[in-house]
């Protein structure tokens, strides 16, 4: 479904991604792990169209989508839950969801908000509350619900457990598994490497902008995971 081929992204003089290759097949959950500053967020934001790559290509459902803007990618079926959620704190929960339905036909928008409020009851209860008053866990649910507004084929999540209490981390992992089991294709970046590799179908390790290792569920138990993080043999 998603093929990232020799993707290179630069911020001025700094190269954040050095020809990264990655593949996500339909219906699978793929984890992208790696140390801080490895380029994980850059890879996701490049795929999602927020950053233009210097070279390489991104293909989605066989179409070349390299450098397309986020609105176009959203219409194609790619949604990103960004790092630190980035919900609109001055807007209410309902307004956050309405805005996320920009690409959804207006006749369907209300129905979709109703469906998501049923799936995430806390959002339904707080639909008129400014999003800035939500707890971390509630805000994460809103961030995911926002991304689901347009019913994406591919969901990209950037560190969905960042800053959450342990109990909420469990809820997020349950949600990831539920979404995958419903047939949603997921690419998730997460710092809790062992845990996310344990639930993902396949995983990649990114270090200093390069994919240095890849594997399946068994990867979580392999001794070379730590080595690939810090720079030893992969």
């Amino acid at each position: 479904m998603l093929e990232v081929d020799r993707l290179t992204t630069r911020y001025g003089e700094i190269t954040a991604l050095h020809g990264a290759d990655l593949r996500v097949d339909e219906g699978e959950m793929v984890a992208l792990v790696g140390p801080n500053g490895a380029g994980k967020t850059t890879l996701l934001t490049t795929v999602a169209g927020l950053v233009r790559p210097a070279s390489g290509s991104v293909r989605f459902c066989s179409a070349n989508i390299t450098g397309h803007d986020p609105a176009r990618l959203l219409r194609a079926g790619i949604a990103l839950v960004p790092e630190r959620r980035r919900i609109f704190k001055d807007l209410t929960v309902g307004e956050n969801l309405r805005l996320a339905g920009t690409t959804v036909p207006s006749s369907h928008r209300r129905v979709r908000i109703h469906e998501l409020c049923e799936r995430f009851p806390i959002l339904g209860e707080r639909v008129d509350v400014a999003a800035g008053y939500l707890s971390g866990g509630e805000a994460q649910q809103l961030a995911v619900a926002r991304a689901l507004m347009c019913d994406p084929k591919l969901l990209l999540l950037d560190e969905p457990c960042l800053g959450l209490a342990p109990a909420m981390v469990d809820v997020v992992f349950e949600l990831l598994v539920e979404l995958r089991d419903q047939g949603r294709t997921i690419l998730v970046v997460e710092q809790q490497a062992h845990r996310v590799i344990g639930v993902a179908d396949r995983s990649y390790v990114l270090r200093t902008g390069r994919i240095v290792a890849a594997g399946g569920k068994e990867f979580a138990d392999r001794s070379d995971l730590f080595a690939s993080y810090v720079g030893g043999a992969a």
Binding site: D69, A71, P82, R98
Partner: protein, 295 residues
């Protein structure tokens, strides 16, 4: 007491026009982090258009929509020609570009039209007044205040109830996150400039009915007052811009009233001194943008 009421009544008209410009300044600042000093040139554009039309004996009922339309198109053109290509540049570059546009506009009017004032007829009602008790109300102040209140009500409705309004508010808070929701950057910024132009066009129409003339540099003063009003209110806060504009207009009248007649020229200087004192007490302005309703 009568004097206080009289000053309030006299200050609301000018304050309303400052507020209309200030809301536009705040709106553009919200989506682009740009203090657009070229925004006042929409008044100059409207003034020369009004001069041209009134010379050909068009009535004010045609001139006003034309001035508003020109301000909307002018504002969108400023965004498209000057700011679109440098979007995302550092704020200093954006600020310098807006200054350059302002200076260029002054030069264009001077070179291609005239450096002298071009007078035109004002509507009679703009200088008529009526009294309630011992307080005298000028019709222009009443109309300006009423039109401004209506304009702010429409602005609030658009920002709260429409998808465009949601997009503008979201973009003001986190532009990239808004793009991730499918908001198109060009559309929301161009829309914000158009809306700011609409409010500037309304303010310009009101100002021109009193000024009765066009001059190359006439946009500079109201724009300066609007920027100050927006800063008084807390840049980025629309209710703040409205409060700042009205407060500035009323303060001007109070200061002018307190000064002896031969020192009337010091009004602006003293008003700015009052504002400087305000910023010592509340550096963030009247409204705290972290907590006030932003754009």
């Amino acid at each position: 007491m009568t004097e206080i009421l009289q000053n309030l009544a006299d200050g609301l008209g000018a304050g309303s026009t400052y507020a209309l410009f200030a809301v536009g300044v705040s709106l553009i600042f919200g989506v682009m982090h740009l203090v657009n000093f070229a925004h006042g040139e929409l008044l100059t554009l409207g003034a020369y258009l009004a001069y041209w039309m009134l010379l050909r004996e068009f009535g004010w009922w045609v001139v006003v929509p034309a001035v508003i339309g020109a301000a909307v198109l002018g504002s969108m053109s400023i965004e498209f020609v000057a700011f679109r290509r440098i979007r995302g540049a550092n704020p200093f570059t954006l600020l310098l570009t807006s200054f350059a546009l302002e200076v260029l506009s002054h030069a264009v009017w001077k070179v291609f039209v005239s450096s002298k004032r071009k007078p035109f007829a004002t509507p009679e009602w703009a200088f008529e007044s009526f009294a309630i008790g011992s307080v005298r109300f000028e019709w222009w102040n009443i109309v300006a205040f009423g039109v401004a209140v209506l304009s702010f009500a429409v602005t609030a409705f658009v920002l709260r109830r429409t998808m465009f309004g949601l997009a503008v508010r979201a973009a003001a808070e986190d532009f990239d996150a808004a793009r991730l929701m499918g908001v198109k950057a060009n559309r929301v910024i161009s829309g914000a400039f158009a809306f700011a132009g609409l409010l500037a066009g309304i303010a310009s129409s009101l100002i021109l009915m009193r000024k009765g003339g066009a001059e190359p540099r006439m946009g500079a003063d109201p724009l300066l007052k609007a920027v100050i009003a927006a800063v008084i209110g807390g840049l980025g806060s629309l209710p703040g811009a409205v409060a700042g504009g009205l407060a500035l207009g009323v303060t001007e009248v109070f200061v002018r009233d307190l000064l002896p007649e031969d020192l009337g020229g010091l009004t602006d200087g003293l008003v700015f001194a009052v504002i400087a004192l305000l910023f010592i007490v509340r550096p963030q302005g009247l409204f705290n943008v972290e907590t006030a309703e932003r754009v």
